[in-house]
Amino acid sequence: MQEVIDTAKRLLSDGTVNRVAGWKAGEFPYDVTPAVFTTVEEIDNGFIYNDFCAPNLSKYLIKESHKEGKILVFLKPCDTYSFNQLLKEHRILRENVYIVGVPCTGKVDIGTVRAMGIKGITDMESDGENVTIHTLYGDKVVPKTETLGDKCRTCKSKKHVIYDELIGEDGEVNNDGARFELVEKLEKMTPDERFEFWRGELSKCIRCNACRNVCPACSCENCVFDNPGSGIQQRAATDSFEENMFHLIRSFHVAGRCTDCGECTRVCPQNIPLHLINRKYIKDINVFYGEYQAGEDVMSRAPLNAYTFTDCEPGIVYERGGNE
């Protein structure tokens, strides 16, 4: 998208910023990588913005915003929620960031494409409507809507909740609840079925830590899983059950702060639907403490960090668990 590149060059040349956070091609054209550009030449040579630019750039600003000078960042609607949440947690220096909101119609998810049974992928391109997939066995054309991951298929918002400048028209928040459909399916399972489901999914985990490293909420100075002082550092290595617990502990740590950006599932090399654990908590928080969207604003108190007279009693939470 030329407008994005033009904006980047303009703001860099006029001195508004001294760096640009964006995307560049990775090892494969569909495997886009976040990158920081410091000159117009670098942008000309490497900057891209297309239907494969899924990575959420918000988390990189924790480090980048503390560096010298102002940085330009391009944020998709869902990325602005992560940015706001980090701002609320005092992790980003707002004055050192210039945000340009970019429109998004959903990003192609390589996992979804592979799940269609398409093998030997050598290249992919998208014209916005259709995705052309080049494979060792010939080309395939698939409508883009079919290549979206669960995150984009049930997109929570096309609205930028924070920006300095906007490219294109701003969209609307989507409250149709579609993003909780898979969670509801899991809730309908018996506890044994659910246990089997998650044991099956989580036992695929190879503990590569990609989910943790990409997660904007997982931005602790020193992660408990890396910290010998925490007393749980090596627990995940004890047995397969403890290893599965890694994901549950991680999801509890981000509960109430997770904006549902879906990066965990996107980067998982084992295709574990990790975002469903977070969405279950988001759904429960909505049910028990009233609708709440982390990152929607900077000022509001998160339900799990606030005590009010209208908070539901723990008994109600237990009762519901007991009825299932």
Partner: protein, 672 residues
């Protein structure tokens, strides 16, 4: 090397009957680090404590686990004992094998198994204990009394008597509370005003006492010795310093149709008013809901006639902030709303009244100037029909109720039997031509000179006491009230044509108690009465340190009992204010700055405002310096509640004495 001693208490048969204490002591020796274990009949006794102390010295113990009752009971005892033997107090852990084990198990096998598990958890925890030293905090030598009824007044007077400053916050325009509305007091029948108003005046004149009338507590922060309280002074549109209480303004105020709450709506007052003649402070108040000037901008008569120039229509609510060392909750009570009790026809007939309304009808300063009249004839008091001949009292209206009707109470309101006997006796004394019936479930009159008082009503004054409840009160066309009731002793149904029916209405804590309880973090029971720290041994203390209870706020009680409790609460307050320093709790939170993300989650959940953030420089692994925002805890303000440790996403916040690692070790020991 750990050298841990485990001491298992029998607590007589309290523990030993359902827990094999010898087996627990033996099992303790299997735990790594345990070098000694013993069981003893009463570990808290002097002999038991000596055993602990001797063992600490002899075996050079590094940690002690006492398997006994709840730590609330004797943790302090064993900590003190350990300290005397040279072991840091905080190297002692209690395994509660009584309340959490022997008392709830019937079977020796399962009781013992659980006791062993609890012991194991405590041993696992004590291994991670570190010696702690409590800090000292200064005490603000000023007390706050919330509520200016007889409870609050007595508490304030006693605290002031000891030489400490004390503030009374009263939401009404005057102090005095419910007692000002009462006519005579049992069992001596002296007039309530005559004994109360001198105390009110004492309060006003005592230079140690400051009265914030027409004010409410807005917020409370801090902790024992160092509370900070915001008090909202509601706009009364009068300059309290200028008003002389002459009453000229009231005389001239054209707005006459305001229900007079002091007389429970039996008559009207003006929009500018002084609740009653002996009010303290004797200062007028403008009722903004009715004042013509405040509502429409026209009128302003009061301001024209006020010689002192005290009227100020522009006054606003103001908030003042004050520091206190201790707080007394004396928030009092109200009769319950009985409109839901249709059978007594309270909302249908003006001649069905509550006992408090009767007090006003019998009071010389009341709407009928002390003549007992049927309220339906209040505007026509000289009518021969105005005088009631047959009066029926109904006891326990809304008290001792087993039904779930909204507003009714399970408890006994305690004061009704006595004041009904008083009412019946006073009426029979003054109007011998009356027939007075009292319907009761039981008559409860324990207390000095109380039963004698009740017997006098029956024997000397011929009041008809009938055991049984009134089923229905039906207003008749001629204005009489048909009372249908059962006499349980003669097993008869009764129909009485009464002129006046008086309902002994249940009392409940004032509605403000709940929010004040929340501000004070003082616990309350299901009826919104404040809970005492111990029902028998600490009856005037709230479980929250520095918060004390006075009067009906804690439970139903009469005036003598209220005054007793008020003085007791004052004694407890003085016990704190007399100290220059209070020993703090060393089990406070602390933040590991290297792990802190600066997210403010802890700051948001801290109920004491103990956490602050600041930017600090940190040397990075690559030898550069980074500035990060990190939390720090003020140990003098932290109360060790632990809310921050659970809110902290990175685990940087931890609680001394209850560290995440210690709790994890306990859970591991239990699950082993």
């Amino acid at each position: 090397m750990h050298r841990i001693g485990v001491f298992v208490c029998h607590c007589g048969t309290n523990i030993a009957a359902t827990v094999d204490v010898k087996a627990v002591a033996e099992a303790a020796l299997n735990e790594t680090g345990v070098v000694f274990s013993a069981d003893y009949q009463y570990m808290c006794s002097e002999a038991g404590q000596t055993l602990v102390q001797d063992t600490i010295k002899e075996h050079k113990l590094t940690g002690v686990v006492v398997c006994s009752c709840s730590p609330r009971m004797h943790e302090a005892t064993f900590r003190k004992a350990a300290a005397k033997a040279g072991l840091n107090s905080y190297m002692v852990e209690i395994a509660n094998i009584r309340e959490q084990c022997s008392w709830i198990h019937k079977d020796m096998m399962s009781g013992t198994e659980k006791a062993v598990i609890l012991m194991r958890a405590a041993v696992a925890k004590v291994k991670l204990n570190a010696p702690l030293t409590p800090g000292q905090t200064p005490v603000t030598k000023r007390a706050l009394v919330i509520g200016g009824g007889i409870a609050g007044i007595q508490t304030a007077l006693d605290i002031a008597e000891a030489g400490f400053d004390v503030d009374i916050v009263e939401k009404q325009p005057t102090i005095g509370g419910k007692m000002t509305q009462i006519d005579k007091t049992f069992p001596t029948l002296d007039c309530a005003s005559c004994i109360l108003t001198p105390k009110m005046v004492d309060c006003a004149q005592n230079e140690k006492i400051h009265i914030y009338s027409y004010s409410e507590v807005e917020s409370v922060t801090g902790f024992v010795g160092n509370f900070t309280v915001k008090i909202k002074r509601k706009a009364r549109y009068i300059d309290e310093k200028k008003c002389t209480g002459c009453g000229e303004c009231i005389e001239k105020c054209p707005m006459k149709k305001v229900p007079n709450e002091f007389n429970l709506g039996l008559d009207n007052r003006k929009a500018i008013y002084i609740p009653f003649a002996q009010a303290v402070p004797k200062v007028a108040t403008i009722d903004s809901n009715y004042c013509i000037k405040l509502k429409t901008g026209k009128c302003g008569l009061c301001s024209t006639v006020c010689g002192a120039g005290a009227i100020d229509y522009t006054q606003q609510d103001t908030i003042i902030e004050e520091k206190y060392g201790a707080i007394v909750a004396a928030t009092g009570y109200n009769p319950i709303n009985i409109e839901k009790f249709d059978e007594f026809a309270y909302s249908q007939s003006p001649d069905v009244i509550t006992s408090l309304e009767l007090e006003r009808l019998m009071n010389a300063a009341g709407p009928s100037n002390g003549t007992l009249v049927r309220p339906s004839y209040l505007s026509n008091q000289h009518d021969p029909e105005a005088h009631p001949h047959t009066i029926v009292f109904v006891q326990c209206v809304g008290s001792r109720s087993t039904e779930c009707r909204k507003g009714s109470k399970e408890y006994c309101s305690k004061i009704c039997c006595m004041y009904t006997a008083k009412h019946a006796m006073l009426i029979r004394e003054k109007y011998p031509d009356t027939d007075v019936y009292v319907f009761y479930i039981d008559v409860r009159t324990p207390g000095k000179l109380f039963d004698e008082f009740y017997r006098r009503a029956v024997e000397q004054y011929g009041v008809h006491y009938i055991k049984g409840m009134v089923g229905k009160v039906a207003p008749k066309a001629d204005g009489k009230l048909n009372v249908q009731a059962s006499d349980l002793i003669s097993n008869e149904q009764l129909h009485i044509d009464a002129d006046l029916v008086v309902l002994a209405t249940a009392i409940e804590p004032d509605k403000s108690a709940r929010s004040i309880g929340t501000m004070l973090t003082a616990s309350m029971d299901t009826n919104d009465f404040f809970t005492e720290a111990h029902p028998k041994l600490r009856p005037v203390e709230s479980p929250t340190a520095g918060v004390f209870l006075s009067g009906v706020a804690q439970g139903p009680k009469d005036i003598p009992e209220t005054v007793t409790q008020a003085s007791a609460a004052a004694a407890k307050v003085i016990g704190i204010l007399v100290k220059d320093q209070l020993t703090g709790n060393p089990c406070v939170a602390h933040s590991d700055e290297l792990m802190c993300n600066g997210c403010s989650a802890c700051e948001k959940v801290c109920p004491y405002g103990a956490i602050t953030y600041s930017d600090k420089e940190f040397r990075q692994p690559d030898r550069t310096v980074a500035i990060r925002r990190v939390a720090s805890v003020n140990p003098a303000v932290c109360q060790g509640c632990g809310a921050c440790t659970v809110a902290c996403p990175s685990g940087a916040m931890d609680l001394k004495g209850f560290s995440n690692q210690q709790i994890m070790a306990e859970v591991d020991a239990i699950c082993r």
